[in-house]
């Protein structure tokens, strides 16, 4: 199971969604799709048309910048981060 960390801007949108949870999935996109099953609409908050990560959403797998197709290993840590932006 991968250790998934989600941005704080996401959790208020989905009641019960924790900042940190475990997901079994082979890729970043599969992990997001897995979360979508439990929290419908979550995928669209992270993934734009293409599909592609939204431009201000970054993903890291074990500390390395990742894309949607980046593999996620059994004990990987997946950080999904809302970029520092706005004002």
């Amino acid at each position: 199971m991968a250790d998934v960390r989600l941005p704080g801007t996401l959790t208020p949108l989905f009641p019960g969604l924790p900042r940190r949870l475990e997901v079994e999935a082979p890729t970043v996109l599969a992990a997001i799709d897995s979360l979508e099953q439990q929290w419908p609409g979550l995928r669209d908050r992270l993934v734009a048309e293409g599909p592609a990560l939204r431009s201000h959403i970054h993903a890291y797998v074990d500390g390395e910048r990742a894309g949607l197709e980046t593999p996620v290993a059994d004990r990987s840590r997946l950080d999904v981060i809302a970029a520092i932006s706005g004002g």
């Binding site: 208020p12 669209d44 908050r45 048309e49 293409g50 599909p51 809302a82 932006s85």
Partner: protein, 357 residues
């Protein structure tokens, strides 16, 4: 006693202003998690509030509240051109109720509809095939073109009939629920070259009076009036301090009375001479009078966007406008006298008014 409620969309969420007497107002909010909200409306059909919002992080969605703003949900289910199309939705810009449809206009230009009050969406039309659509349908044009559907005008007597504004292109009308469209820009002024006779106009705001044939519009270059339901337009700018502006409102009981807020057409886009002024015509645009009582007249460099002014339907209507610097001004006497009813909100995109029993 009825309550008057303003739904105020801002750069940082939705706010609600309420009053029993249109003098003392209470403010609630922010709602919608502080997302940038571009248009928020109260829908009398369902009693729900809808807010079109687009987060820099989390994309576009329509928020909805069934309890006058106390709790909110949001959805973007179906609100997409899909992975293969090439067009992307960078913003949801404007909302309207048309019968059993809730409409949302998006950028790149398209209209989505929801038949379950905002839970699920499907593409209704991109006005494909209209003159100019080859440009607005080109993904390479967005951004920086930022062309979108910026406004609707619906017909209370016919839910299949409504206007949609394509930014920088013009107004189009459908009478079959969005299956076919007709440009409605005849007689409008434009000060630039264009590829087509019937499109290439910059319509900022369209409003329909209580007589469906009498319409008004604020254009990039002038105020205009139509006496034939938008089929032709006559310019009525003379007497105003400029021809540029965004906000406009029509009196609910008097088809001759119309309000606009001219702003500088350059980069500033604030009210002329730093004097906050709403201009009113009582004779369908033959003459204009400045409404300034109670509005700041010194160094008031205020901007008001296209959905930023509205008017209620009381016997003596009240006018309201919100500024790009976060003030809301209100008049309970058709614009004669004004007061500032909110002062420190984020930049305001839209103000909508409803009378609740």
């Amino acid at each position: 006693m009825s309550k008057t409620m303003l739904t105020v969309a801002t750069r940082k969420g939705t706010f609600i202003l309420e009053s029993d007497d249109r003098r003392d107002w209470k403010l609630r909010g922010p709602y919608c998690e502080g997302w940038p909200v571009y248009h928020a409306i109260y829908d009398a059909t369902t009693g729900e509030i809808y807010a079109a919002a687009a987060s820099e992080w989390h994309g576009s969605a329509v928020w909805r509240s069934g309890d006058l703003g106390e709790t909110w949900e949001m959805s973007s289910e179906g609100l997409s051109y899909g992975d293969e199309d090439g067009r992307k939705i960078s913003k949801v810009s404007t909302l309207a109720r048309a019968g059993d449809r809730l409409l949302v206009g998006v950028e790149a230009p398209g209209i989505f509809e929801s038949r379950d009050n905002g839970k699920n969406w499907s593409l209704l039309s991109t006005l494909s095939g209209q003159h100019g659509s080859e440009a607005w349908d080109d993904p390479a044009n967005q951004p920086p073109g930022h062309l979108g559907i910026s406004g609707f005008v619906t017909d209370p007597s016919d839910s299949d009939s409504f206007f949609a504004i394509v930014q920088g292109v013009g107004a189009f009308e459908t009478d079959d629920g969005g299956s076919s469209w007709t440009p409605r820009n005849k007689g409008l002024r434009r000060d630039w070259p264009a590829d087509y006779e019937d499109v290439g106009f910059c319509v900022h705001k369209l409003v329909r009076s209580s007589d469906p044939k009498r319409m008004y519009q604020q254009n990039h270059v002038g105020m205009h009036r139509s006496d034939d339901a938008g089929r032709s337009w006559t310019e009525i700018t003379e007497g105003l301090p400029g021809d540029f502006g965004f906000a406009a409102a029509v009196h609910p009981h008097d088809t001759e009375t119309f309000y606009v807020i001219p702003v500088d057409g350059g980069h500033g886009r604030t009210m002329h001479e730093g004097k906050a002024t709403v201009w009113r015509t009582r004779d369908a645009g033959s003459s204009w009078q400045p409404m300034r009582a109670g509005l700041p007249q010194d160094n008031a460099h205020l901007g008001v966007l296209r959905q930023g002014m509205t008017i209620d339907s009381h016997d003596t209507p009240g006018l309201y406008f919100g500024t790009s610097t976060g003030q809301v001004f209100a008049s309970a006497d058709e614009g004669d006298n004004w007061s500032e009813i909110a002062s420190y909100l984020p930049a305001i995109s839209s103000v909508d008014v409803a009378i609740l029993d």
